[in-house]
């Protein structure tokens, strides 16, 4: 059975090396998707040293760039979709701020009558989250429909190149980086399907992309808090988990009302903080191991994750 290993940031102690070596034998080639690093995609020297296995760079970002360059029609549709997604995110954010503030406010009211209002406030936030994801899904569907009429040969050729590389590897590493860039490029080449029978070791943005929901968050940003936003649906390789990388630097644990609200928004999925050196191991979609992993709770605390 293939395994999926989710890791937190690779600083201060890289953990990806041990995770990959546990799944591979000496000299075995490991595939790498580092599209989240964008133009720096092929800077794999450090990773190669840490993993100590031959690496096969899938060059997902570079292949997508060349595809878009060669297919102006596809590039236009892609850029239009990205612009639509950005507009949708802005609209969602405008409404979300009000609902979150209202929910936080009602959670701080001490009154025997209030639990019903609190549940309703959460329901409203969750409804908006769902609505946003539906619109995002619709934007992706429209893109697929529009581009299905285009010549698929250039894309198919690149996909075939990647399939050929993947045929010789049993394990793929997905690095951190820009989660938007990573997901859009993986989608463009339809990589989700190609990874089905591989062991996957992914950290930070890579881990986020593998979950069913991708949530952007940073409570402690220098220009002030931004409420956590649903960004997109992930590849769903890891069911029941929402990855929150680098929570020690991003999640304001001094605000239990807001932490609890986030846990309730994302339920029934478990919102799990991926810090360094967190490791979650799943097999067949079931959590088999959890090291240094913490889960957000409805009460606003973080508790240790236990494998089921």
């Amino acid at each position: 059975m293939t395994q999926v290993v989710l890791l937190g940031p690779q600083r201060p102690e890289p953990t990806v090396g041990d995770a990959v070596r546990a799944l591979t034998s000496d000299g075995e080639t490991v595939g790498v998707i580092s599209a989240g690093w964008q133009e720096a995609e092929n800077d794999l020297d450090d990773l190669s040293e840490i993993i100590n296995r031959p690496l096969a760079d899938l060059l997902v970002y570079a292949r997508c760039e060349s595809l878009l360059e060669r297919s102006p029609e596809l590039a236009r549709a892609h850029h239009e979709r990205q612009a639509t997604l950005q507009s949708l995110q802005r609209l969602y954010r405008r409404r979300l701020q009000h609902l979150i503030n209202a929910a936080v406010d009602i959670f701080e009211v001490d009154d025997t009558l209030v639990p019903l209002d609190q549940r309703h406030a959460i329901t409203q936030v969750r409804a908006l989250d769902r609505h946003h994801l539906q619109r995002v899904r619709a934007a992706h569907a429209a893109f697929i429909e529009e581009t299905s009429a285009f010549d698929s040969a250039p894309r198919d050729a690149l996909r075939a190149q990647i399939e050929q590389i993947l045929a010789d590897v049993s394990t793929v590493v997905i690095t951190g980086g820009n989660v938007g860039a990573l997901m859009s490029r993986m989608r463009l080449l339809g990589l989700g399907d190609l990874l089905a029978d591989k062991h996957i070791v992914a950290w930070s943005a890579g881990a986020m992309a593998l979950c069913e929901r991708v949530v952007l968050y940073h409570d402690l940003a220098p220009q002030g808090r931004r409420d956590a936003e649903l960004f997109d649906e992930g590849f769903g390789v890891v069911p029941g988990v929402v990855a929150l990388p680098n929570a020690r630097r991003r999640l304001d644990e001094t605000q239990p009302t807001r932490v609890g609200l986030m846990a309730r928004r994302l339920a029934p999925r478990r919102a799990i903080a991926l810090d360094n050196p967190t490791q979650l191991t799943l097999a067949g979609g079931v959590l088999r191991g959890a090291v240094n992993a913490r889960q957000l709770t409805r009460s606003g605390t973080l508790k240790a994750v236990r494998a089921r």
Binding site: G177, S204, A205, A221, P222, Q223, R226, P245
Partner: protein, 378 residues
Amino acid sequence: MNPALKALIGDGAPDAAAIDAFIDRNRFPLVDRHGVTFVFRGEAESVLLRCFMSGLPGPQPLTRVADTDLWVVTVEFPEASRIEYKFEVSRDGHGEMILDPLNVVQARDPFGANSVCQGYGYTRPIWTLDDSTAREGKLRRHRFHSDAFGEQREILVYLPATFRRNRRYPLLICHDGADYVRYAALKTVLDNLITDLDIPPLVVALTQSPDRLVEYAGNDAHARFISEDLLGYMTASYPLIDERRSRAVMGASFGGVASLHASWSAPELFGKLLLQSGSFAFSDFGPHSRGEVFDPVVDFVNRFRASPRQCADRVYMSCGVYESLIYENRSLVPRLQADDMEVRFEEVRDAHNWENWRDRLRSALSWLFPGPNWVVYD
């Protein structure tokens, strides 16, 4: 009265052993919600507290606790104040300025060091401290010929840890750059902010003038040095993003004047300004009262105020409310805004010093150069 002090002297004059124990038990100055109690121990004819700030009427005399060698004074500072100070201790008719012997927290500047009072509610920002997990950038020293000054000039250049020749970077030009590194932990701050994705990787040119009070005071030759010599050298030496919005100039005090003047002289080159406690002295009528060295500054600021023009798109300004320059800084904000510049102005409970400027760097730099921390998860 501070509770610890009250406990010490509540029952009359404490003996030496009680004072020893009091000193061992506490951190000084004593800080509580109601104020700061400065404490000096030693024989003296008088002890004065000299705070390097505007707002207090003058030096504050410490009072001797009866029949002891302990001297105290309590000053009410607003929450989150940060105050630099020294004691002036008089013995045998001679006064001597000294650091607070009971306080290990000190701030350095080009003139030496001061003791630091971290008032109630002030905490040194964590991102100003060395972080062993941050990726360390490099400082490189360069010399090049300046046509504007007709001589060689030396600069330091900060390169981010992930610097690669095949990528392009925004450029920040920092006046008094070596001092910023030495006294405001600029390199540590850059390493931390870049590692935390609060700002993108930047290249920073750190200049240090041999005669800053002249060159920074609205001096046209200096403006040419920045916009022609330095920018030309940096552009030829490093892969920089060739866009106005990716170039910023920064400085504090006279360095703030130099930054505004350089950008005002070449508005097509710089899109961002970071001005900390700028010495923006001006006179609405008649002579100013800040001394001769400010003459060219006042001349420039008066000209700027008479005919401001958009010299950047975004301007971050900060000033301490315990500075004599707070009025001048506040006055500049609407002038800048009137010319369609987006201005963020922060007032803080601090004075004209390097650690005030250090503590604002995250807010300033991340506003001028927002990092990718919303979408990048490394």
